[in-house]
Structures are given as C-alpha cells and as structure tokens.
C-alpha cells in the first residue's frame, strides 16, 4: 500500500515539479515563433529525460550509490573533475536564472522591480534548504507546482486543431529562421534534460531508501511522472502558439510570456502565470542548490543528506550555502533572466556528453547495477541523442549569441 502511495505521490509531484524557468521560457518562445512545430522537441526530450531518470534511480537503488559517488569510484578524480566542474558551473548559472525567474514572478504580482526581489528569493531558497528535509522539498514543491496545470487547461480550452498537434510530434524543417529553430530545439533539450536532475534523483533514491526490490516503483514513477510532466511543457507551447503567435508577440521577456493565460483566465491570467513561474523557479532553485551540495559532498566523501541534521552535515550545508550565495550574486548583477536562462540551457547541452557518457558506462557495469544493466537500445538512444544535441548546440550557440 505504501509503495502505491509512493508511486502516486511520485507521479503527481513529477507533474507539478516539471515546469521551471527553462521549460516555461523555451516553450513560450517556441510556440510564439514557430507555432506547434517544435512539439516534437519537447516529446523527444521528455522521453530522453524519463529514460535517464529511470536509469539514475536504478543505479542508486541497486548499487546504493549516487551517480557522482559512483563516477568518483569508477573513473577516479583525474577524470571526475571535468564533469564535476561542468556540472557545478552550469548549476550556478541555472540557479541564478531560477532565482531571477522567481523574482520576476514576484514582480508580476507586485509591480515592484525584479532586482529588489532577488536577494529575498535567494534568502528564501537558503532558509528552505536549512530548515526542511528531502520529502518537504520534493513533495512540497511538486504539489504546489500543480498550479502549472493551468497551462494544460488553457491549451485544452483554446481548442487547438488536433491534426496539427499530432503532425507536430514528428520533426520537420521550419519555413523561416533555421538557426533560431535549431537554437530553440537545443534549448528545449537543455531545459528538459537538465543534468542536475540526474544526480538529484539518484540522491533522492538514497534519501528515500528505495531498494532493489522496489525498482518497479522507480520505473513507474519515472516514466509516468515525467511523461505527464512533459504534457505541461506542451501546454505552455500550445497556449503560447494559440495566444501569442497570432498577435506576433515575440517572447523576449517573461512579461510578454505572462500574457498567454489572459484570454482564458482573464484577470487571473497574469497571477496564475506568476504563481506557476514562481513556484516552478523556486522549487528548481532549491533542487539545483542542494544538488550542487550533493555532487560536491558525494565526490569528496563528506557526510550528506537533506534528512540529516544540518549540524551533522556541516560541509554539505556550507556547500549549498555558498552556491546559493553565488547564484544570488550573479542574479543581482542584473542580467536579463530570460536571456541568462536560454544561454545556460544551450551550454547545458554542450556539456551533456561528459555527464551522460560516464553515466552510461556505469549503467553497463554489473559491479554497480548487477543484472539490471541497460539494453542496447537504451544505450544507443541516449548516447546518440546526447552527442547529436551537443554537436547541434556547438554549432548554433555561437550563431545565436553573435546574432543577438
């Protein structure tokens, strides 16, 4: 019975926790600029994430090790410093983007400039990390995040043509601006398959004490939760395509994206958008900051865990304090949060191979996953998409940055 409750709670919170700054901004921009045409990118990225999350949970449940702990053991520090530095660098950038996104959400509700809210949001992230255990962090934000279902309701309410939606699930070439289209597809991949989620999920599996006998819980939660979560991202894209696209509104700030819910929810539209953005960004910021502390502590063999007293994990607590401070300071520099998010996401895809490929090696090593090694299809699917995404990101990122 308890396992079934875990599965239901896991699925519900995966749906509620799916949306954050990256997925809202990429889906809103993709919908406004290319209609439904980039739905395929969300679909592929969602399946890729579900596969990776299932694997990271399987590794942790069977080996009793998180990804970063296993990479240190299997490949040594001489190799690990590369993915670890890449992960921590991207985590810091993404954290500042999420803090900026949450600050924008408060600005939408209060009308007071977002920079005034950056430090309070950073402080709130740190207080949550200092005071709450893993379950509150994971399930609390997941349940609050169900407000993001307003995008799915809006998309349904706007009655998009079904045959166009179905046709958009297959990749197709754009009629205009190929570089922008490629950049957005890479960013959608980066927004969905954030590397921090992998180690965060494997750490959560250890925190929740999931065992090899409960692999079905992990599998069900990962596939169903993530795939339903992808539907929320699709809801953002479809709503944006139906509302912002016809008015030729280009989403170059969150203020413009916020307009997408107005035709459906009227005077509550902006508030619902702000709540979705705020809860999503705050939840992601907490997860990113704690993941950076997980990664550092596990690689170095420190005592770690959100369910332990903070004074028993002083270095772990210091690590999330420092990264939260760094993310807040970067956000305070006043970079446009949307632009910072988009660049961070494309960089995420560039570094993805150094994180995913060693992870795949672990998933095929029976010393870690015993008889639960990957299938050849799973390996080829992940390795192929990771390398293809990185190659595309390396090509389009400079073009996008130079082109402004």
């Amino acid at each position: 019975m308890s396992a079934i409750v875990d599965v239901v709670l896991g699925i519900v919170t995966s749906i509620g926790g799916f949306i954050e700054a990256g997925s809202i901004s990429t889906s809103a921009q993709a919908g406004a600029e290319f209609g439904f045409q980039l739905l395929w990118a969300i679909a592929i990225a969602t399946v890729m994430l579900a596969v990776m999350i299932e694997m990271s949970g399987r590794l942790a449940a069977v080996s009793r090790r998180t990804i970063d702990a296993a990479v240190r053991e299997r490949f040594g520090i001489s190799f690990q410093w590369v993915p670890l530095a890449a992960e921590l660098g991207i985590d810091t950038l993404l954290l500042s983007a999420e803090i900026g996104g949450a600050a924008i959400a408060v600005k939408l509700l209060t009308g007071i400039g977002f920079l005034w809210w950056v430090a309070p949001v950073g402080l709130l992230v740190w207080l949550i990390l200092m005071l709450f255990g893993f379950s509150v962090i994971e399930y609390g934000f997941g349940l609050l995040g169900l407000v993001t279902l307003s995008f799915v309701y809006a998309a349904y309410h706007l009655r998009p043509p079904t045959h166009d939606l179905v046709r958009s699930l297959a990749p197709s070439m754009p009629h205009h601006d190929l570089v922008r289209y490629a950049f957005l597809s890479v960013s959608i991949l980066g927004a969905t398959v954030s590397p921090y989620l992998l180690n965060f999920y494997s750490s959560g599996t250890i925190e929740e004490k999931l065992t090899e006998k409960e692999l079905w819980v992990n599998r069900t939660t990962a596939y169903l939760g993530i795939c339903f979560g992808g539907v929320v991202s699709m809801g953002v894209l479809v709503t944006s395509a139906m509302v912002l696209g016809p008015k030729q509104i280009i989403v170059d700030s969150y203020d413009q994206a916020a307009l997408m819910l107005v035709p459906v929810f009227h005077r509550w539209g902006i508030a619902l958008f702000a709540c979705s953005l705020g809860v999503g960004c705050l939840g992601a910021a907490v997860e990113i900051a704690i993941n950076a502390a997980y990664a550092f502590s596990q690689a170095l063999g420190w005592s770690w865990g959100a369910n332990k007293a903070r004074s028993d994990t002083a270095r772990f607590s210091a690590a999330f304090t420092l990264i939260t401070l760094a993310g807040t300071l970067i956000a305070l520099l006043g970079f446009d949060p949307l632009r910072l998010t988009m660049i961070s996401l494309a960089l995420t895809v560039v570094i993805m191979p150094v994180i995913v490929l060693p992870f795949l090696a672990l998933m095929n090593d029976d010393r870690y996953v015993k008889t639960h090694t990957n299938s050849a299809f799973g390996n080829a699917f992940l390795a192929g998409l990771t390398l293809l995404g990185a190659l595309l990101a390396i090509i389009v990122l400079p073009l996008e940055v130079l082109g402004g």
């Binding site: 009793r64 702990a69 240190r72 053991e73 040594g76 520090i77 001489s78 410093w81 200092m130 005071l131 170095l300 063999g301 420190w302 005592s303 007293a309 903070r310 004074s311 002083a314 270095r315 607590s317 210091a318």
Partner: protein
C-alpha cells in the same frame, strides 16, 4: 586471500571509521619500496592536499596553503597505515574512530556556525 586491484578496489573509495562515520575518500595510495622486492602498499591518505596533488602538484600546494591559512594542516592529509584497514567492501572500513584522526577537522570547525544558523 582475494585479489585486490588498487585503482579499482581501493583508490577513490569511500572511507568510514569503526562506527561507519564518513571520513572521506581514499585520495591517495602510498606505496613503499622493499629492498629487492616489489613495491607494497604502506598507507592510504585522505584530504584535499593529497587529492589536489593527484590532479596537479600546484593544486596540491594550493590546498596545502589554504589548510595552513585556516590552521588546519595539523595531521593532514590523514595517513592511515594499511594494518588499520579492517576490510574493503562497498567502503574502506578502518579500525579506528574519526576522533583519532584530523579527517573531520573542517566539519568540526564549521559545525558551531551551522548549528547556530539551523537552530540544531
């Protein structure tokens, strides 16, 4: 006696004390020469200066300098002779307690601040 591969089974593995308290990882393996015989493992080392030295000697020296600045260099890197290793399984378990080493010096230095901030 089973076969032990140093890089695979010892180096970088998690180290715990007699009470399963995490002390860190095997950051360096110390080998010694025996006259006329093969090299043999003398000890393992735990600590940022040992770890840094494996990455690059300069990184090791920077870690050592930081430990000196924060007055943490005493007893670090922690060196544990092989005869204090109880067994090597998922972790390297030592036949000593954390308090007998300086492995948790940084943890202990930070603990009062974290305790005050978190309220417990």
């Amino acid at each position: 006696m089973g076969e032990l591969a140093l890089a695979r089974d010892l180096q970088d593995k998690r180290v715990v004390d007699r009470n399963n308290r995490e002390l860190g990882r095997v950051d360096r393996v110390v080998l010694g020469e025996t006259p006329g015989g093969p090299p043999r493992v003398l000890a393992i080392e735990i600590g940022p200066s040992a770890l840094g030295a494996r990455l690059h000697p300069v990184v090791g020296r920077i870690a050592r300098a930081l430990e000196h600045i924060f007055r943490l260099e005493e007893g670090r890197p922690v060196r544990v002779e092989v005869d204090r290793i109880e067994h090597i399984q998922d972790s390297v378990k030592l036949d000593l307690t954390a308090g007998e080493t300086a492995a948790l010096a940084v943890e202990q230095r930070l603990r009062p601040f974290v305790k005050r901030l978190s309220g417990g």
